[in-house]
């Protein structure tokens, strides 16, 4: 094991995107919990959000625990968020669209039920 007292380095730029050797194409904007953030076409919602350093994507309905990206291949359903007013959408399997509205989901989330 490397030195066990090693503290976690802070990343100075607020962006976890790898910069070296990659060009990303079209930049767009998405709204996460009311705040506008940068995203690139082709990114998953999870990728755009993790790129800001935010990793808790929802809280569970029974014990209100935070959850984030776990399997990243769409089978665990832990990364679900409320996207464009629809709860329980997997952030790792959903791709960003300009203007997409995303909310950290609390429990079962809120549905717009009225016709």
């Amino acid at each position: 094991m490397k030195d066990t007292n090693h503290t976690i380095k802070t990343i100075s730029s607020n962006d976890y995107r790898i910069q070296e050797g990659i060009a990303r194409g079209t930049e767009i904007e998405i709204i996460v919990d009311g705040k506008s953030i940068k995203a690139y076409e082709g990114e998953s919602v999870a990728a755009s959000i993790l790129a800001t350093g935010k990793r808790s994507l929802r809280t569970t309905s029974k014990s209100y625990e935070p959850r984030g990206l776990y399997c990243a291949i769409g089978i665990c359903f832990d990364c679900v968020m409320t996207i464009d007013n629809i709860p329980n959408i997997r952030a790792c399997q959903t791709f960003v669209r300009n203007g997409m509205i995303i909310e950290t989901q609390q429990g079962e989330g809120k549905w717009r039920v009225e016709p």
């Binding site: 976690i8 995107r17 790898i18 993790l50 808790s56 014990s63 959850r67």
Partner: protein
């Protein structure tokens, strides 16, 4: 001549691609469905089309090996009807394939189906495994190789198997500080000296290279160690780890130590995605060495004639084996459809069958080496979640056992374990093993959590708008609006 119905290939990983290539070669129409936006499967997963990446990201050993397959794929892909960003949600009445994409769904009445749906990581519950920042190694790898985003800054990797090593190197490459790999076993590849059967597989060379690289990267590889607990409030901030008993990997609690980390990558081997073959009514048996598996003949055909199962979705073996199996199934399906003669098929098979044969002992040893050991069942505490979806804790399962639950199905009814959206993928294998150990029963007696359609999310709206791909549209593929065809 009778019009040949398209063979439906589910999954566009190496197994599915291998099948599609052989089908196209034999002039058999092929319809391929994958939920990802681009083909490649888990191992050859690619970044979004808009991303341009430097060669260095493409040149790792796996990608290099995939190159041949990919070149052949490019030659045939225009003849394959690929529905990407489309999930198969169920196979009903044996051969009715139901798929869904962006708000609509459709049904294909298939004659032959090749299921190539791959695998997912075997879940091992321990305290804190649900915290944000705790991920699977496959997930980490796939995430960085497609999205080029760092999932954390300082990582601990735990589990067993060669994927841990390549994951450590990939994380290092992108600037994540990898503190250590905690390898629960002491598997054969780590000695550096590979047995004969291992040397025959290109894979052994990859592992040797990865180990070299690991040394260069200065990442410690600790054998017979594993993670005991992940700590943190809103996400993981530190990890407790320690040694495990060499025989059954029981944690040795007096060796506990704690270390800072904001990323934990877990890889305790893989479990095949067998939901679709279960729904289709294919027989599955239990084997003590490899767990539940789909019964198939040498030509990859399951007990339901016309349904094939190939690749990691059938039996874990990795990308090269997956591709060979896919090809064999493709050839056999072409023969079944009357597009090639038995004699020709025989000829085509030979190469792939003998290749597969040479992998046989390798495959057994990799399955044995990475098989889950029962000592890991000592990791969860009473309040540890064992079912992530329904938030069932370990003591709930024990209470159910006390109340007389004698199999997974009755534990499910009493606790809601496995009733959530992941359909038991993240609890059935660990709790199944736990029940076997506690109740001293066989896996057959403990049973499995039945898979129920839909195996992938689909909205009521999509099902209400179900179309019959053949009947209602002259070209069924027009129906799919989502996801570019590549």
């Amino acid at each position: 001549m009778k019009k040949i119905k398209p063979v439906v290939v589910i999954g566009a990983g190496p197994a599915g691609m291998g099948a599609a290539i052989e089908l196209v070669k034999a002039d058999v129409p092929c319809m391929m469905i994958d939920e990802a936006p681009r083909p490649g499967g888990q191992v050859y997963r690619q970044p979004p089309t808009k991303f341009q990446t430097q060669e260095k990201y493409k040149l790792n050993s796996e990608q290099k090996r995939g190159k041949d397959l990919y070149t052949q794929w490019l030659e045939v892909k225009d003849k394959v009807n690929l529905l990407s960003s489309t999930s198969v949600v169920g196979i009903w009445n044996e051969k009715e394939v139901i798929y869904s994409s962006e708000g609509i769904s459709g049904i294909i009445e298939a004659e032959q189906i090749i299921i190539a749906t791959g695998a997912y990581e075997r879940p091992v519950p321990f305290p804190g495994w649900t915290l944000p920042g705790v991920m699977t190694v496959g997930g980490v790898k796939s995430f960085i190789k497609t999205m080029f985003v760092k999932p954390g800054k300082q990582a601990v990797i735990a589990g067993t198997g060669p994927l841990l090593i390549s994951t450590a190197n990939r994380l290092h490459e992108i600037g994540v500080n990898v503190m250590a790999i905690l390898e629960a076993g002491n598997p054969p590849w780590t000695s550096g000296a590979f047995s004969k059967e291992w040397q025959e597989v290109d894979f052994a060379q990859d592992i040797a290279n990865d180990l070299e690289e690991l040394k260069g990267n200065n990442i410690p590889l600790l054998f017979n160690h594993t993670i005991f607990e992940a700590h943190g409030k809103s996400e993981v901030t530190s990890v407790t780890y320690g040694e495990v008993d060499a025989k059954d990997w029981k944690p040795l609690n007096d060796t506990k130590r704690t270390i800072n980390a904001d990323l934990v990558a877990l890889g305790f081997g893989f479990v095949s995605n067998t939901e679709l073959s279960m729904l289709a009514g294919c027989r599955h048996d239990f084997h003590p060495g490899i767990g539940w598996y789909i019964v198939r003949n040498e030509m990859m055909e399951t007990t339901v004639p016309g349904i094939f199962s190939v690749g990691d979705g059938a039996l874990i073996g990795g990308a090269i084996i997956a591709e060979q199996e896919g090809r064999i199934a493709g050839i056999k399906a072409a023969q079944n459809a009357g597009a090639i003669t038995a004699g020709d098929a025989e000829k085509y098979f030979e190469k792939h069958l003998s290749r597969l044969h040479s992998f046989k002992s390798f495959r057994i040893s990799i399955n044995e080496a990475t098989a889950m050991r029962k000592g890991l069942l000592y990791l969860p505490k009473v309040e540890t979640l064992v079912c992530r979806c329904e938030e069932v804790v370990f003591s709930d399962v024990n209470t159910a056992i006390k109340e007389g639950a004698g199999d997974l199905q009755s534990v499910k009814l009493l606790t809601r374990l496995g009733m959530g959206p992941c359909q038991g993928r993240n609890c059935a294998s660990s709790m199944g093993m736990y029940l076997c150990e506690t109740l001293k029963k066989t896996p057959e007696q403990i049973g499995r959590i039945n898979s129920r359609p839909p195996v992938k999310p689909v909205t009521l709206g999509a099902l209400a708008k179900m179309i019959n791909a053949e009947e209602e549209l002259s070209n069924p593929f027009d129906a799919i609006t989502a996801g570019g065809r590549i």
